[in-house]
Symmetry: D2
Subunit: 446 residues, 4 copies
């Protein structure tokens, strides 16, 4: 397995030197040494794999990543802080947990008292909605981790109207903005931070990356992802029961995963009931000896039932082909789940071997779910570390978990590339081991 050996620049932009004594109190260990603040010099290696090609001593050459955590000297005087929090894009389990944690850390640990929630994403800054501001404090957020969604609401778009957004930020007098959102949101945040810089303002922009698909680079696991997998297994279990109880039963579950198949791959392993996993990274044929139809038939002949999990971004080549054959142009099917449902039923009808297919699309149930406790904990730690970063004057920065450490990653770097399931990597290999999926169908390049 060969690994990307690009050298990355993990330098974290800052608003300036921290000169204010942090008000937070930490455990004092070994007498008078205050030990568990984190220094900017504490880093971890990015590249940690060793193989015959690894140059002896140059791991640092691939980049070292700054650890997150509270700094002993911070940039902002807590009394002067006015923080804004915004959630953008589609729902994802854990949004409220991140909000709650950020608010509590600002309030209890730094003594910040002016915290503003901006409702419905960037649109809330653009005058698109009434009552778009919400005062946040520990009482308001006390129980919000018990419900899904975002108490701030969310919406898509608006992030490209940078000038207007920065105008609004200035009007609101914010000097700290937490952007909870995905790729587009963070690109917007970067543009906002750059405009802030142009205007010579001192406003920290810190992002908490949200991507239920887990497809952001430089973040090991996105928040909400574990919850998504847990919820998704419930739908797979339902599909399995339906398939198992029917004559030639086929359960078909469409899961999230626009560009990468992480949810589908993990769900397949976590549920133990999946026979075929179709993801964007691994193209598949429908027809032919190695195609889905034939392989599915073999499975049905052997076991009478089958379960297929398909990521929403898988098999787009088939949809395109279908659109072409369809000619008129306005009937392009965009939904691989519905497409497979139709094609499978038609195919097996045509060969006189009818199947009993049940199709489940649990997307809204999954993404609006309450975070499971271990995910909630993760959200909590991301939120806390985001506050530490902003108080220390970091900006244009995301909070991330990498090589099992909480770290700072430049937004610019994180939004440059996406994360994909490596068809040659251990995850996909373990999916094959676990599902016993026909090996011909697991090959990304034919």
């Amino acid at each position: 397995m060969s690994e990307n050996r690009e050298k990355y620049d993990f330098t974290i932009p800052t608003l300036g030197l921290g000169k204010v004594k942090s008000p937070i109190l930490l455990s004092k260990v070994f007498g008078d040494t205050i030990a568990n603040y984190v220094s900017d010099d504490e880093k971890i290696l990015y590249h940690i794999q060793v193989d015959e090609d690894s140059p002896g001593c140059a791991y640092e050459d691939y980049g070292t990543i700054q650890k997150a955590g509270p700094r002993e000297k911070i940039y902002f005087n807590p009394d002067h802080v006015r923080a804004g929090i915004i959630t953008c894009g589609g729902l994802c389990p854990g949004l409220n947990d991140v909000i709650r944690s950020a608010v509590r850390t600002l309030w209890y640990r730094y003594g910040v008292r002016r915290i503003t929630g901006i409702k419905f994403g960037y649109n809330g800054l653009l005058g698109a909605v009434e009552d778009s501001l919400m005062d946040l404090n520990p009482d308001v957020v006390d129980d919000i981790h018990r419900i899904g969604g975002s108490i701030l609401g969310s919406s898509r778009g608006g992030g490209d109207r940078t000038d207007e957004i920065v105008d609004a930020i200035e009007r609101l007098n914010l000097n700290m903005l937490f952007t909870i959102g995905g790729d587009g949101t963070q690109k917007g945040a970067l543009a906002i931070a750059e405009e802030i810089e142009r205007r010579k303002l001192k406003i920290a922009v810190v992002g908490i990356p949200k991507t239920i698909d887990n497809d952001l680079s430089f973040i090991e696991r996105s928040f909400g992802f574990e919850t998504a997998v847990v919820r998704a297994t419930e739908s797979v279990f339902a599909a399995h029961q339906e398939a198992h109880s029917a004559i030639n039963g086929v359960g078909l579950v469409k899961l999230m995963g626009r560009d990468s198949g992480f949810i589908a791959a993990h769900t397949a392993m976590a549920s133990h009931d999946v026979n075929f996993v179709l993801i964007p990274e691994v193209p598949f044929d429908l027809e032919g000896a190695d195609g889905l139809f034939e392989q599915l038939k073999k499975r049905l002949e052997r076991r009478n039932h089958a379960v297929i999990v398909v990521a929403e971004g898988a098999g787009q080549e088939h949809l395109a082909a279908d659109a072409r054959t369809d000619a008129s142009g306005n009937k392009v099917l965009g939904d691989i789940g519905l497409y497979l449902k139709r094609r499978i039923v038609e195919h097996f009808d045509s060969i006189g071997y009818p199947v009993n297919l049940k199709y489940i699309d649990p997307s809204y149930i999954i993404r609006s779910s309450v975070a499971i406790p271990t995910d909630s904990l993760y959200c909590s730690r991301l939120g806390t570390n985001a506050v530490h970063a902003a108080m220390a004057g970091k900006t244009k920065t995301l909070i991330s978990l990498l090589n099992n450490h909480y770290v700072h990653v430049p937004i610019e770097l994180a939004t440059r590339t996406r994360n994909y399931v490596d068809p040659e990597g251990s995850l996909w290999r373990d999916v094959i081991d676990s599902t016993s999926m026909p090996i011909q169908m697991t090959n990304p390049k034919k």
Copy 2:
């Protein structure tokens, strides 16, 4: 924060060179290159932290760890394999998931057909129980991940009767033994493997480390741990409701954690309802201005209710003191939960400020729980990689997750030290941030 800089020897013992072509088929990528086997030379760095003290280029000097996964050449001819699987010690979520995964990988991927489950731990090899063997195959294990416990049963002890165990292994004609268990079990496994070596037998001994407390070294997260945290939060929520609904309500929950407080620390963060976390690594006073009684009183005066989580190994110094004052010797209280319950009630009665304390000990409910899907997935990958290791002739080896990679760790190394919550580390710091626990009570050294 200073880090242990000992250099470790991660050399993996093997029975011999792999000369057999692996029967498993993997994705063929880029034409004829078979790419996703793992070579023994693929390793990851153990030490990945960088700070001012780090010598420039010597990360490898701290040890490199071999990646787990299927080898292209394996040691055992699958036709000759007779594998044994054993589960020892207390229950832990995920035992059945590990068994299931090992059986399926042996059967479907390598074609091994002789798999024996040994019932009730090492005692099952010692003639202590009737019907102590159980044939395992994919049908037998098909649905076992839906129930908790271990289908093989489990028991404590017996691991020190090495000679008899190896005699039994010889009688059973096993050439591969998977030991699923904790510290003691793996030490037993090492002794067994050494005796095997002395007898010049070719039997692979591969361990899957089980420790619900998460206190094994060289493993990032033990299987079942996430499930334990999820289940524990349910008891904490119950304690919170009880406390919240009573006059001066105090909820007290005792969680597992004999030597280390990982479950308590994670549960406190995951549940968001905990005010005091008492763990073995951080001693606490009962009396005095910084003691639990006074701090608890302050909390009650402010909010009228409080939740305390205590790890079973916390505060042992108090139990010892109590035993001394008790004199007679036979009434030594060994249970910190019951001890705190009694002391708190007595103290607050004595100061005319009675509390309404509800005590919950959910240990058996937690440890017998079915693994949550994400934990089940993890068990599945550990079991699969354990089989790959044994087939490749590795022995005296554990499967572990380190720095986010599945790796091989020598049993000898893993059982040498335990893993503790670092009171100066980021986990404990985030616990303080999250619980707003009084800072005086978070100090390990007074």
Copy 3:
């Protein structure tokens, strides 16, 4: 509120007098009296409501219903029994629990050793599937209540091929058939029993009514119904979160309920998040001041979000109208959920007040679900009492819960009419109280 005062004939058909001493042992109370067998004379009143119109002393005139339970003298000699069990129609939570309970009662309480499961419904008796028989015993059914679906599989149709089915029953030498299924299944069972009678065979046919919609007459609550409501609330909660987190968010959930709105009504009350409940029994307008569009707009203006639950059989008049206007005939929309989704979005777009509608159809997730424990208990008691009935020689009979007692109901009677939500009754009234649904929309007759 006026009540149906028809007098029903609850006479239970039997194969003949019970002459065999029951082998089951029950608690002997008060010395030698064996007390807790049930006599055929033990009955309950059907009509229990009293009002000014009730004739003084004639409750028995409305019919009395025989209590279910073990008879001291039974019809069949257990040694001669060969029992068949069949599950038909769509899935429903609890099928396996009923099967399990029937098998265990036959086996452990009566000593019956020949129990045959017929796979895939009536089709399994018609040679439509291979391997359509399955031996049942306590070991086979031991853990089946932990999974959903039916281990026997199920399928629709075939119940009208009475002659062939009775031929098959004769070939299999069954003298007892348990039919677990809905309206159609039980009508089929009745026809089968009548053909059995014509052939002068002594075969008991006892039904356990299955209708997730809860729309069978003479049964208070169908098994699986509670589980369906619990699962449905999860989707409503998701819809609520989605709606609440969006600008003008509308959550639309389609639930089961072809002819009656019990699931929708109960789910609305159980979830506390529903603003509009649309059921078949209460027609509604889309347009006009009292129509859904206008009322929904009012709700959105007031609260910015709304949740609608619609039973699949509601608003069929709109679909028909839509079909007519559509003219061509082949594009008739049959799905009220998708229809409402389209119409609502189009309407609010057309008035320049766009809504953010999320549509959830959780049917397969609900019906394949594992029964919740209280439902499982109910299934268990139905199965047990079905066995008691068949052993006693009852036939053409359903097991039912009425006025809180387990009773026998003639299939002929139970399949004659359906059960509906009474728009003038207490259930619908409590729905209105609970949802604060606009009163104009709750009126069944305009």
Copy 4:
């Protein structure tokens, strides 16, 4: 089976005639007839069983019970209402659901704007706690059904200080009091209502009976009971897993049930894993051929593991005997769970057949649980009907479900006797059928 044939007086006390037009709007059916108000004359029969002993036409002689629901004419002018709500005694799932429903019905349906929650039970009226009042409105109660416990808090006792309580009620100017609590609470409520009467005040006292044990007479099923059973099955499942995974494993679960074994009986049937059910109504021996020890040994010899469920009130005769033999008086064991744990372990040690016993006491986890949706629905309907009753001027009245109808029951009647599991009835018989418990152990009278 013989039934209690006492004739009961179900006359409902009222404050006076309803003269106020109800402000609530209900569905108008059939033109101008307003049909779904409930008249005081609408009743149901109490006695509905028919057997050879039933006198022909005298069902009404056993009492008829008034149906609950909104009256067309009500006693109180909503503008003048000041309602109080109080929760007393131990926690029970659904308390918040009842509060929420009562508040919403008062507010939205009747327009009542002055609703006061009294904190911590009767003690909150007695000056025992600070800040003992809480304004209630739909916003305050909006999400409280998602948490367990009671937002009003609860406490035991105080209900006998009738004079002081009525003084407080007068000071608060309440004219409507909802008492949510058990036997003692409702007896207190009755005394309060009598004192109110003596003082010639017009204050309605309406109770919602709370008893997690389900042991109140004249109520079919108490709220929270279903949730308790669902939660209890989780502990039984844990006990089963522990027992199943150990050598001679015994799982012992103590459940609530001070005087009656309903939770234990239902949980045994709902969980399918229980072998012995010990309830207060059915005495059992420990020693002897029919005793628990011998029967447990037989089970272990046959299956190697066993699960015992014991209601907290079971086997009190053994505790008393134990206390006697213990002599000193101060070491009386009051806990049947801990007692059985000790005795079983000692016994099997003494006969050289050691068992591996795991003891689980889940009481606090159960009673603080959030109500399951179907239970929540039930709470909601109880709360709504309680408001209808009080608005109509009913007093000294409980809301109950009887023969599947919501009805009014005089407090005086409901608190006179308790409800027990009838060892000759269908529930206990079905427990025996379901658990295959040794028949000798199911006999209440030896």
